[in-house]
């Protein structure tokens, strides 16, 4: 196995699928769907192979592939997989085929959709596996192109504007990041994450760049990532983009792409700029807290269900950053237990949110499909009466999202609160408001749509889930139970990594 370039296969297999689709015109819709799904499932196959060969006791990169690429520029083709990457690869492996299946249902121009989707999937995997900024950034930017077309061409009535805003906003952020890395490259001559992190941790970077420039570089990289996550208040592109995208694409955007930003924070910003993040963290904590609290409260006011779930994504991802910033702020006495909990919580939250938010978007998609695109809070009533299976599965996803113990969402949120409380008790106390508001809007969603007498779009014919829909939702729900009861299946993969991270503190 060691000779097999597993990680390259992970990244390139979906792209190969995209090429194949592009090269084969005139296939039947069935064949296109089959090919696209098969290549999308390749990630699951290679992901499981990686899982089986993964040494959970090691913290470093595994299955590493390292080749000189552009010697003149000291650019290397370097891929590697650690616990965090593995979690996200597995998440991609689970969410992508389901998203693609959802997007492909009844869609026109299936071949183009499949090809674009596979390009998107491969790019996301590339982001999670690349260890050299050069191709990492290519993957990072490349993911925007298919996402733009998927939203614009298959999205709702406002899709054009939403896609435009999404792409322009993120590219603007990325431009700052690119400038930052250009400056880093000019000063250090390398784009390798590990080397940059060593320079950053040792303080060599500050010497090379100078005290002012490093702050500017930090800010540039920070803005690029903050827009991507998104960190409050850089989040306003997200609700329209998620709401206007077609169901399957919303699932992928929230399930996988929204993790790229947090991943960037953990892979790039924190290791390379520990001192700068440490200095900025006390302010950034308030931004993350704003995302947690105001994101959830803004969701209460949404009457479009997809926008509501989109805001809940802002809220959930802000917990991840809250934990990271609480660690980085390092204002309290060293607290290894809390730090480990905060990091574990962040990683689990990324994974868990991917499952639950994808399921919730799918649920809204089911409502839309049956009613010709209706997704307003007031458009339904009593759906549970006519579609009990749908109501049940959607309800489980909802309770997972609001952090009910026994389901996956609780473990991550509990660890984040345990960690943040140990480091920043006051912030943790305020953040609980986000938990309350989340329960409030999700139960309102549930009550208005599923409970009460049959009303609105649900008073006519409203069939329960068909086989394909069950096959999409059931795996997600089953995994919610699995990781809610047996979280060690996930924490077992990241414990050494978390320990290392916690050990790299205390900060300068």
């Amino acid at each position: 196995m060691s000779t097999l370039p597993l990680l390259s296969l992970l990244v390139l297999a979906p792209w190969a699928g995209a090429l194949l689709l592009a090269a084969l015109p005139g296939l039947s819709a069935r064949a296109v769907r089959g090919i696209a799904l098969a290549f999308s499932f390749s990630t699951l196959l290679f992901g499981l192979i990686a899982l089986s060969g993964f040494n959970p006791a090691a913290a470093g990169y595994q299955f590493e592939e390292h080749h000189a690429w552009i010697r003149e520029l000291n650019v290397h083709y370097r891929l590697g997989l650690d616990g965090m990457s593995l979690l996200l690869v597995l998440l991609t492996a689970i969410v992508s085929p389901l998203s693609l299946a959802a997007a492909a249902r009844g869609a026109r121009d299936l071949r183009l959709l499949g090809a674009l989707f596979l390009v998107l999937q491969g790019s996301a995997l590339g982001v999670f596996l690349a260890l050299d900024f050069f191709h990492w950034f290519i993957f990072w930017e490349l993911s925007l192109v298919p996402a733009f077309f998927l939203i614009k061409l298959w999205g709702g009535p406002g899709a054009g504007r939403a896609a435009y805003q999404f792409v322009i906003y993120t590219i603007a952020g990325s431009a700052f990041m690119l400038l930052g890395f250009a400056a880093l490259y000019a000063a250090t001559g390398t784009l390798d994450f590990t080397e940059l992190a060593q320079l950053g941790a040792g303080g060599g970077l500050a010497t090379l760049l100078g005290p002012r420039a490093i702050v500017a570089v930090f800010l540039g990289v920070f803005i690029g990532l903050a827009v991507k996550v998104p960190l409050f208040p850089f989040h306003t592109w997200l609700p329209p983009a998620y709401a206007e995208a077609p169901t399957g694409v919303s699932m992928f955007l929230t399930g996988v792409m929204s993790k790229m930003g947090v991943y960037g924070f953990l892979r790039l910003l924190w290791p390379i700029f520990p001192a700068q993040l440490h200095a900025a963290a006390p302010c950034l904590l308030w931004l993350a807290l704003g995302g947690v609290v105001l994101g959830a409260f803004a969701a209460i006011k949404q009457t479009d269900l997809k926008r509501m779930i989109a805001y809940s994504s802002v809220n959930h991802l802000s917990y991840c950053l809250l934990a990271l910033f609480a660690v980085a702020a390092g204002r309290s006495a060293p607290n290894a237990g809390a730090t480990a909990a905060a990091f574990s919580g962040t990683l689990l939250q990324m994974f868990n949110h991917g499952l639950s938010a994808a399921a919730l978007f799918y649920g809204v998609g089911v409502l839309e499909r049956r009613t010709g695109g209706l997704r307003g809070l007031a458009d339904f009533g009593g759906v549970r009466t006519v579609a009990p299976v749908f109501a049940g599965l959607c309800g489980i996803a909802m309770f997972s999202s609001l952090g009910l113990p026994g389901l996956n969402g609780f473990v991550g949120e509990f660890l984040i609160f345990r960690g943040v409380f140990g480091l920043e008790p006051g912030i943790a106390a305020i953040a609980t408001l986000g938990l309350l508001a989340t329960a409030l809007f999700l139960l309102t969603f549930w009550q208005r749509v599923f409970h009460g007498p049959r009303a609105g779009a649900a008073s006519g014919e409203f069939p329960d889930l068909d086989r394909g829909e069950r096959l999409t939702l059931l795996p997600l729900v089953a995994l919610m139970f699995l990781f809610g009861v047996l979280p060690h299946l996930l924490t077992g993969l990241i414990n050494p990594l978390v320990t290392t991270w916690a050990g790299t503190l205390p900060l300068p």
Partner: protein, 681 residues
């Protein structure tokens, strides 16, 4: 038969399995789902008896079996099972009462189309509740705590097509979650300060002396001990779950659920979970008692909240007209008594009352269920009446429950457990206010229960359904009889003469002697007089002159119309919250949405607009500035070209002529150049 602690997880596992069976059974599998649920509960009851036997063999021990849930960094999150007399008694009570209520539900829910789902949810509840009891970790307890909340949510909203039921379910979940946020913070604080959440762990558990001493030893700003702060945060959870003031508002609304649910969850077991929680972490709650110079003791807060709740519930119950709401507010009031007992330092009296209350309140609710079932879902006591001759078993058992709740002396369990609480309150050296609140509630309790029985069972039937009511089937009356037996006999386990239950709970030797039977005789006499006064007053107002028609004015409303209306509106707590908290919440949400749309989003749009504007300016500059200049130049070039193009005639002779002339000129030029250079040499 004894059950070792290593296998105590079987007690919640059986109903969990039944819930799974229920969930996977198709809708028509009624017999399978209900059969599995009842069989599992019977099994759990037997296992609980075994567990109790194990615990009683050595009542002072806390048997624990701990295990790792998942690794975390270099550490691990541990959970565990616990068996001590508190767990044992609670398990027996919960599983036995659940069993009876499950059986009762066979009859009560017979005609419901979601019958099998009902048993699935009931089993889920029982599993979570029993899990909560056997947890040896505050985290595991919290997990089960949230799951009973879920089951409660699902069951309150069981008739989800009714908007009122759907709203009540949400209200219950949200209100209790407010308390749970405090609980969560207390939990993570405790975890952070001690590194563990296990109750008992060979000396390192959070309820063991070493850890407690360290917690009580640390102080916060203001001199508050850390243990006090953590204890009060955990108490927030209990306030929510056990319907204590000021979070009591959800419990009466929870009566929207089917009556067996009200009996099991919102009277006998789940709402008592808050009391159990505080009894469980009692060493933590009382860790600050030894400290003299702290501004606040955690238990003092508990006592006063309990006293307020006991009085509040009883006062509101006086003016309710829905049979289930009267009982719901009496539950609020009785839970207040239990909290009061915890606060004044007698957790054993509290658990004694919890156990007796579970029996007589389950009995009362099931009796009410039997009435409602017979009267075709008529719940308004003004429209009932005259049921005594028609429903003899229901009446007799309901009367026993009523006397137990009112504290009719000597024969009924409620008397003994309430006396134990009043006695403890009397001996509390901080304040006598809880005692007075408790005594006032005694009169009120006897009064409103007399009113309830008189209105429901005496006089004339005042509506069509009430006049046609007949006794419920045996599947419903047999559980009533069994609960009635418990409601009588259970009291004798904890009389002052032989406080067996309290001794076993606390693991101390039993001192029994008849001399103690009338211990605190003065107080006991006073409370007997108060019970008598309440019963008498109730009988005078409602029993002697029964209501004539459903629309007749209540005697109290006749004398004190405004007060009565205010009480009937539950002291307007809901309106108060709607005017304050809801508005605040709504305002915050509006503000957040507004900021999103106009400030953050606005800034981005402004930037985008500026970009577009810049682009437009640039375009104009290009087109009208640069381009126009360029156009002018290129226009003239084009003109020149056009002029030259006239030479393009397409005639070969013309071209040849031009070429010849050009050749001649070039030759002349060349000759001239050569000559000139030659001449220059």
């Amino acid at each position: 038969m004894t059950l070792p602690v290593q296998f105590i997880w079987l007690i919640p596992a059986l109903p969990l399995l039944a819930a799974l069976v229920g969930a996977l059974t198709p809708r028509r599998g009624r017999a399978l789902a209900s059969g599995a649920a009842i069989a599992a509960m019977a099994g759990s009851t037997l296992l609980s008896c075994g567990a109790l036997a194990t615990a009683l063999a050595n009542p002072a021990a806390h048997l624990a079996a701990n295990f790792t849930w998942f690794g975390l960094g270099t550490g691990a999150v541990q959970l565990g099972w616990l068996l001590d007399p508190l767990t044992g008694f609670m398990c027996v009570m919960v599983s036995f009462v659940s069993l009876l209520i499950f059986i009762f539900s066979l009859g009560y829910m017979h005609e419901d189309e979601n019958f099998k789902q009902f048993f699935c949810f009931l089993s889920l509840f029982a599993a979570a509740m029993l899990g909560l009891l056997v947890a040896n970790s505050l985290l595991l307890l919290f997990v089960c705590w949230e799951l009973v909340g879920l089951a409660s949510y699902l069951l309150i909203g069981f008739w989800f097509h009714k908007p009122s039921a759907a709203a009540a379910a949400k209200k219950a979940f949200i209100t209790t979650r407010i308390g749970d946020l405090g609980f969560l913070l207390g939990l993570v604080w405790l975890y952070d300060s001690t590194g563990s959440l296990l109750f008992f762990d060979g000396g390192n558990g959070v309820l063991e002396p070493t850890v407690l001493a360290s917690l009580a030893g640390q102080t916060l700003c203001g001199g508050l001990a850390v243990s006090t702060a953590i204890g009060l945060l955990i108490f927030c959870g209990a306030v929510g779950k056990s319907g204590q003031f000021p979070l009591h508002v959800w419990l009466p609304d929870a009566m929207e659920g089917p009556t067996p649910v009200s009996a099991l969850i919102h009277a006998a077991t789940m709402v008592a979970a808050g009391v159990f929680l505080i009894a469980r972490v009692y060493p933590l709650m009382s860790a600050d008692q030894a400290l003299a110079h702290v501004p606040l003791h955690a238990l003092t807060v508990v006592a006063f909240i309990g006293a307020i709740t006991a009085l509040l519930g009883a006062v509101i119950a006086v003016a309710q007209t829905d049979i289930k709401r009267v009982l719901a507010f009496s539950t609020v009031s009785q839970l207040g008594y239990m909290m009061l007992a915890l606060g004044v330092g007698s957790w054993t009296a509290s658990i004694f009352h919890l156990l007796t209350h579970a029996f007589f309140k389950a009995l009362l609710f099931l009796g009410a269920g039997s009435v409602i079932h017979a009267a075709h879902h008529e719940q308004d006591i003004r429209s009932l009446g005259g049921l005594r001759p028609r429903m003899k078993v229901t009446f007799a058992t309901f009367a026993i429950g009523m006397m137990a709740l009112s504290g009719v002396p000597f024969l009924f369990s409620g008397f003994w457990s309430k006396e134990a609480i009043l006695h403890a309150a009397h001996e509390w050296d901080v304040s006598q206010i809880p005692l007075y609140a408790g005594l006032t509630a005694v009169v009120l309790t006897a009064f409103y229960m007399t009113r309830l029985v008189a209105e429901t069972f005496f006089g004339q039937a005042r509506s069509e359904p009430a006049s046609h009511a007949h006794e419920s089937p045996a599947v419903m009356t047999v559980p009533l009889v069994l609960l009635a037996v418990g409601a009588v006999l259970l009291g004798f386990t904890g009389t002052p003469a032989c406080p067996w239950l309290q001794a076993r709970l606390s693991g101390t030797p039993l001192h029994s002697s008849m001399e103690h039977l009338l211990e605190g005789g003065g107080l006991m006499l006073l409370s007997i007089v108060l019970v008598g006064a309440g019963l008498g007053l109730g009988w005078v107002l409602y029993g002697r002159n029964p209501r004539a028609s459903a629309t007749a004015v209540d005697p109290l409303a006749h004398s004190f119309p405004q007060t009565y209306a205010f009480l009937g509106a539950r002291l307007k707590f809901d309106e108060l919250y709607a005017a304050t908290l809801f508005r605040l919440n709504s305002a915050l949400a509006t503000l957040a949405a507004f900021f999103d749309l106009w400030v953050w989003g606005g800034a981005v749009n402004l930037l985008a607009w500026l970009g577009e504007f810049g682009g437009e300016v640039n375009r104009k500059f290009d087109e009208e500035g640069l381009n126009d200049g360029f156009d002018t130049v290129s226009g003239s070039v084009r003109g020149t070209g056009q002029r030259y193009s006239r030479a393009q005639t397409g005639e070969a002779h013309g071209y040849m002529r031009t070429v010849a002339i050009a050749f001649a000129i070039l030759t002349l030029l060349l000759v001239w150049l050569v000559l000139a250079s030659g001449g220059g040499r």
